[in-house]
């Protein structure tokens, strides 16, 4: 009896501790009136010379032994293998001195802190601003802290080498899950929103996967779960299966976890084209109904828009099940629709999918991947978060890209190849 009571108590404690206890990760905010207010934007010609692999001479408690520096739009990102860590910094330059302000974060935990870095004129600043620069030794010095307060722990990053020719010549798609991250990653913005899409490039992604549902009046929108719930939304007046409500009711009454509105598919794709450099969008169809005709119409329209804007952009419609494949083949000229098939390779050929996306637990499957690549298709693997598997799939596999919740970690292992 005592044993039973003990097991019951442990069970209840486990159940209670599994609940979301309202963890809040404060992202340090860059002070707009700080040092960057007095600087000019970092010249675009300087950015490629900063990118590469750096040795961590000081600050290994956060950055490990080696990091990757990579620019995405106006953000300088740092990727480390330690705890899937990353840093996102804003930069500025004045008199050949470069200043960077931002934050670091361990993706596998809630640890975060302020980070400030500087490249002095004599340690790379002059090289980076030279008219006909060809790069050279760069040293970033600065400090980091824990939490929102500026810290005084020293960090020194010394340029080791640029990215390899393999990395430069072979595009590898780092696809961030749910637009950039899940709510359980505590990124300060909600999954599947315009806000997380905006941040995804800073995390190392050059593509994203977003989930598509269909409102009762046939409007595709971005949302993952079947129902309106406290994992994804703030407390509101609408509850139940989200697909049973009209788009106007959803727009008016559903607020996502961090205060955002649910974007429609058109809003999301338009935002990606206009506001990001993301080059690959995987639409994961989640509707209980046949959304393929309407989604296809929107995708083709947005691809045209991307083409006009000279955007390097692919948008593919995911086929996660036989049902979706059967819905696809009912559409006229279905073989011309850009799709990504998660089923077997016969289904890939039947749908004439551009991409095959097997689950990672099936292994690297190199012979099949090569076979499909010879047919002019690509292959992605999903969803890998374990550092050891990420490393082995990147080094041993032949995939064209990887779907992950830890894009910074995939970026680290890819760019250090």
């Amino acid at each position: 009896m005592k044993k039973f009571t003990l097991i019951l108590c442990v069970g209840v404690l486990m159940l209670l501790s599994s609940c979301d206890n309202g963890v809040e990760v404060l992202q340090p905010i860059v002070d707009p009136s700080g040092v960057l207010a007095t600087t000019d934007p970092v010249p675009n010609k300087s950015k490629p010379w900063m990118e590469g692999i750096y040795t961590v001479e000081s600050g290994s408690s956060v950055f490990g032994k080696q990091v990757v520096l990579k620019w995405s739009n106006d953000n300088l990102s740092i990727f480390t293998s330690k705890n899937a860590g990353y840093a996102v910094l804003k930069g500025g330059e004045i008199d050949s001195v470069f200043y960077f302000e931002g934050y670091w974060r361990f993706r596998t935990s809630t640890e975060t802190g302020v980070l400030s870095l500087q490249i002095s004129k004599s340690e790379g600043g002059a090289i980076l601003t030279a008219k006909d620069s060809t790069g050279g030794e760069i040293v970033l010095r600065g400090s980091f802290g824990n939490g929102t307060q500026p810290g005084n722990a020293e960090v020194i990053l010394r340029f080791l080498r640029p990215f390899s020719d393999f990395v430069k010549q072979n595009k590898f798609y780092i696809l961030a899950h749910r637009g950039g991250g899940r709510n359980s990653d505590y990124l300060g913005v909600s999954e599947n929103t315009l806000q997380i899409i905006k941040q995804s490039e800073g995390y190392g992604a050059n593509g994203i996967e977003i989930d598509v549902k269909l409102s009762s009046d046939g409007i595709p929108f971005i949302y993952h779960d079947d129902d309106i719930n406290l994992r994804t939304t703030q407390k509101g007046v609408l509850w139940g299966n989200i697909e049973q409500f009209t788009w106007n009711l959803i727009s008016a009454f559903v607020t996502l976890k961090n205060g955002e509105k649910i974007p429609s598919l058109i809003e999301a794709l338009d935002y990606i084209i206009e506001e990001t450099s993301l080059s690959f969008i995987w639409l994961d169809l989640k509707s209980s109904r046949n959304e393929i005709p309407i989604v296809t119409e929107i995708v083709l329209e947005m691809l045209k828009k991307g083409y006009v804007k000279k955007r390097d952009l692919q948008i593919v419609i995911g086929l996660p099940s036989e049902d979706k494949l059967n819905n696809l083949v009912k559409v006229k000229d279905f073989t011309t629709i850009p799709t990504l098939c998660e089923l077997d390779i016969n289904s890939v050929r039947k749908a004439n999918s551009k991409y095959w996306a097997p689950r990672w637990t099936l292994g690297t499957q190199t012979p099949i991947v090569l076979e499909l690549q010879n047919e002019g298709r690509g292959a992605f693997v999903w969803t890998i978060d374990d550092p050891a598997f990420i490393e082995s799939f990147i080094t041993e596999g032949k995939f064209n890209g990887m779907l992950t919740n830890y894009p910074s970690l995939v970026a680290y292992y890819h760019y250090t190849r």
Binding site: N229, L230, F245
Partner: protein, 196 residues
């Protein structure tokens, strides 16, 4: 299956029959109706949190202080009626309401049998069917979902005669999935419809 049924019958007879000689069992039907107030941290000033609450319950009342039963009912949780302005869409009057239908196992106990035998403390646990209805921008929608839930109540029942009793019940419901509660005060009518 037949063996199992036979076993259950034998067990039932062996447990009930000897006791029935010197004890009294009954089945009570309890019907309640009253006012409810929805407890929520929902930050929307236009939401009406007042509503109607009804209860239908069957209780097995043995000679012991502990009683068990089944409960269902109807609870109006909240309603909203306001004009919404959506960018690019326009203005529309929108109506949203939610009600729940619980299906609960009830455990009830007379906690002060000497001092206050009319007072029962109840704990119930089970599932609640939550139904949301929305109406706005020219269309209607509704959706249902199931949540786990529990309730706690204090019931005072004063017998009128051998079969009937009336009283009041103060009850708190909790809806796990939406992390809300509901407080109700009901008038209760009880009818002892079977005795053995």
């Amino acid at each position: 299956m037949l063996k199992l049924l036979l076993f259950l019958v034998v067990i039932s007879i062996s447990t009930i029959t000897p006791q029935s000689r010197d004890s009294l069992y009954s089945l009570n039907l309890e019907v309640g109706a009253g006012y409810s107030y929805h407890l929520t941290d929902l930050n929307m000033p236009d939401v009406n949190l007042h509503g109607f609450n009804g209860t239908l319950r069957i209780m097995w009342q043995p000679e012991h202080l502990l009683r068990i039963g089944l409960e269902t009912g109807y609870h109006q949780l909240y309603s909203l009626d306001k004009v919404i302005n959506l960018t690019g869409i326009g203005r529309s009057e929108a109506e949203i309401s939610m009600f729940s239908i619980p299906v609960l196992a009830v455990f009830s106990m007379v906690v002060f049998p000497q001092m206050l035998p009319e007072l029962e403390i109840k704990f119930s646990s089970g599932v609640m069917f939550l139904n949301t209805r929305g109406n706005g921008f020219g269309s209607k929608a509704s959706s249902s979902q199931i949540t786990l839930g529990f309730s706690g109540a204090a019931t005072y029942l004063r017998p009128l005669n051998e079969h009937f009793a009336v009283g009041a019940e103060l009850k708190y419901y909790n809806f796990a999935k939406i992390d809300d509660g509901n407080l109700s005060l009901q008038f209760i009518f009880a009818y002892k419809f079977m005795r053995w």
